[in-house]
């Protein structure tokens, strides 16, 4: 497949940013607290504010997450993501705004959400000598109606390591146990904070699949990440947070579409075909620009530019190698903040992962 992104059904360019990314001064109305389908939100944050002394970590964050969604909070390190979810989980007292989980107020009564909320925190360890099975059994005992530890171990591929002590687990195994512990109370809502930081690429992909498996069990997931590709791959919808403020909100496809609805492809042709191809390309309605980039021809156009170009060239018996150049959430970030995205994550993916190019043949 060469299509860069699934085309969001019925969405018009430009509408995405209006959905929930209202700037701080905008009144918080029904539009930002209800989902498109009108279901009551599983998570609701309205005008959250939290400062540590003179340092304002969260200036103004509002979001609403529907039941069963994987919702992302994306932003560079220090953007206020973790503070936001700590306030949401009732682990930290907010300075202003309201938070609700399934209609309960974790700020006023943190105990009210403990049975229904699972939280996976960054850098939270266990007693080094506690085994995987012991940890799950212990944490299960805290809840009224816990999940079956054995089933969770199966789900998270921990069964082979059940008798291993925490101190001897690998980073990926610790992370999976951490997710298991967040789920052992059979929560309806789970907060997962930077769950793939420190994992190798293979373990990251495996963890992503796990998150989807968990969602398939009916758990609403709030995913905190500074990885663009992770948010793009996993989230149904997301907010981008920068310097304590929501700067964009919507589905990954909507966000990318809203920044730039054009599509870019690169063609590689036999030298003798180039003149003819250029002539055909410039005559197409869906093509906006054609430029030469080294040995390749870059074509910019509408969403339909790919089939139009391939079809037109095929009719002239020209079969190029086609590569689509995809835009990513990183472009969205640059667009809304005017700054480049600061990859300060120690083991983050390389930049090429984020702005990826998908290889593929044009037929």
């Amino acid at each position: 497949m060469t299509t860069a992104h699934p085309v969001p059904a019925g969405s018009s360019p430009g509408s995405a940013l209006a959905a929930g990314a209202l700037p701080s001064s905008a009144p918080v109305g029904a539009s930002s607290t209800t989902r498109p389908d009108g279901a009551a939100p599983a998570i609701e944050i309205v005008a959250l504010r939290k400062a540590y002394g003179s340092n304002v970590a969260v200036r103004d964050v509002s979001l609403a997450v529907g039941p069963g969604e994987i919702f992302g909070i994306l932003g560079p390190n220090g953007a206020g993501k973790t503070t936001t979810v700590e306030c949401l989980a009732g682990l930290r007292q907010a300075d202003g705004g309201t938070v609700r989980i399934l209609g309960r107020d974790p700020q006023a009564d943190p105990a009210s959400v403990r049975e229904v909320l699972g939280v996976q925190l960054q850098e939270a360890e266990l007693n080094e000598r506690m085994t995987v099975a012991e940890a799950l059994r212990l944490y299960a005992s805290f809840y009224e109606s816990p999940a079956d530890p054995a089933e969770l171990m199966d789900l998270l591929d921990l069964t082979p390591h059940r008798a291993r002590q925490f101190g001897k687990l690998s980073g990926g195994q610790k992370q999976r146990l951490s997710i298991a512990l967040a789920l052992v109370g059979n929560p309806q809502v789970a907060i997962l904070d930077e769950l793939t930081t420190g994992l190798d690429p293979q373990a990251r992909r495996a963890t992503w699949e796990l998150v989807e498996r968990v969602r398939d069990r009916g758990v609403t997931i709030l995913l905190v990440t500074h990885f663009m590709d992770e948010a793009e791959r996993l989230c149904d919808r997301l907010v981008i947070i920068d310097q304590g403020v929501v700067v964009a909100a919507g589905s990954p496809a909507e966000l990318i579409e809203s920044v730039d609805s054009s599509r870019v492809l690169r063609l590689r042709l036999e030298p003798h075909e180039e003149a003819q191809a250029l002539e055909i390309l410039t005559g197409l309605a869906d093509v906006q620009a054609v430029t030469r980039e080294g040995h390749e021809i870059e074509v910019t156009g509408t969403r339909r530019v790919l089939p139009a170009v391939v079809l037109a060239l095929a009719e002239a018996d020209v079969v190029p190698d086609v590569r689509t150049v995809t835009r990513s959430l990183e472009d969205v970030f640059v667009h809304v903040t005017g700054r480049t995205y600061d990859h300060t994550g120690a083991t983050g993916p390389t930049a090429t992962d984020d702005r990826s190019s998908t290889e593929g043949a044009g037929r």
Binding site: R104, L121, E125, M130, R137, L138, V189
Partner: protein, 274 residues
């Protein structure tokens, strides 16, 4: 499977809140698990359980004259072996070791590593963890003390307590007051090294005032007076009174009770998860 779970959160809320409010679910499992984990740490177990015994036996054999009957000492010391007089000190040491080293370091390590933070996301209350560790350490200290007295009786000529209930009561009140002090460190120290440093800073002066180096009749009167106001010194003096004398050590018992009543609520109030 999109959830029957989250459809009517408003309806579910009051019922859940009542259950969630208990916060004691799993206290038994927590206590047993923590105890089992402690047993996996042979160094700590050995130190906590055997140190008082080793101390008593070591002092009895290493220091000349400890096993001889004191003939020239004033009452109530006359007719006792020196090592017998040292028994309350050894018991106080058992209490201090757990209260000022084991417990604060354990909690600070948990805090440093985020174990407490993770626990705070569950329905378990902080009091649950404190309670579990107080129980575990209480058992540890009692076993250690019993072991010291038992081995001491087998090896040396020890006097039977004159008033067992005063000895036991003083010992338990000593544990309470010292655990309260230890828990205050445990509640605040952000790092294991900090907890260890504070604990050790208190440990040796407390042992000094409890008569570690000047047991029984050797302790100067001024030192004894000062020691009587510290929890550990009061515990030692009260146990000594119960063991070798008649009468009730009222002042020492009150001192220990006051330390407990002041420090324990303070520790619970100042407790932090991270």
């Amino acid at each position: 499977m999109t959830t029957q779970t989250a459809t009517h959160p408003q309806v579910a809320a009051p019922r859940r809140r009542k259950i969630a409010g208990t916060g004691w679910h799993g206290l038994r499992t927590l206590t047993l698990t923590e105890a089992r984990l402690l047993l996996r740490d042979p160094g700590t177990v050995f130190f906590a359980l055997l140190f008082p015994t080793v101390l008593l036996v070591g002092v009895g054999f290493a220091i000349p004259g400890m096993r001889e009957v004191m003939t020239d000492a004033p009452p109530p010391w006359g007719g006792l072996t020196a090592v017998a007089v040292y028994v309350p000190v050894a018991l106080a040491t058992a209490v201090a070791t757990v209260a000022l080293t084991t417990m604060p370091v354990y909690f600070a390590t948990f805090r440093e590593k985020g174990v407490l933070r993770r626990l705070s996301t569950t329905p378990m209350k902080p009091q649950g963890l404190i309670g579990a560790h107080v129980v575990i350490n209480l058992v540890t200290v009692c076993v250690a003390a019993l072991l010291a007295v038992l081995v001491g009786s087998l090896v040396f000529d020890l006097a039977a307590p004159a008033n067992l209930s005063i000895v036991v009561g003083s010992f338990l009140l000593g544990i309470l007051s010292m655990f309260s002090l230890g828990m205050l460190i445990a509640s605040r120290a952000g790092k294991a090294s900090t907890a260890s440093a504070i604990g050790m800073t208190l440990y040796f002066p407390m042992l000094f005032l409890a008569g570690m180096w000047t047991p029984g009749p050797i302790m100067p009167e001024a030192l004894r007076t000062i020691g009587g106001y510290t929890p550990l010194g009061a515990a030692t003096q009260a146990m000594t009174t119960g063991w070798f004398e008649t009468g009730v050590p009222v002042s020492q018992l009150v001192v220990m009770a006051v330390w407990t009543v002041v420090l324990l609520p303070l520790a619970a109030r100042l407790f932090r998860w991270s």
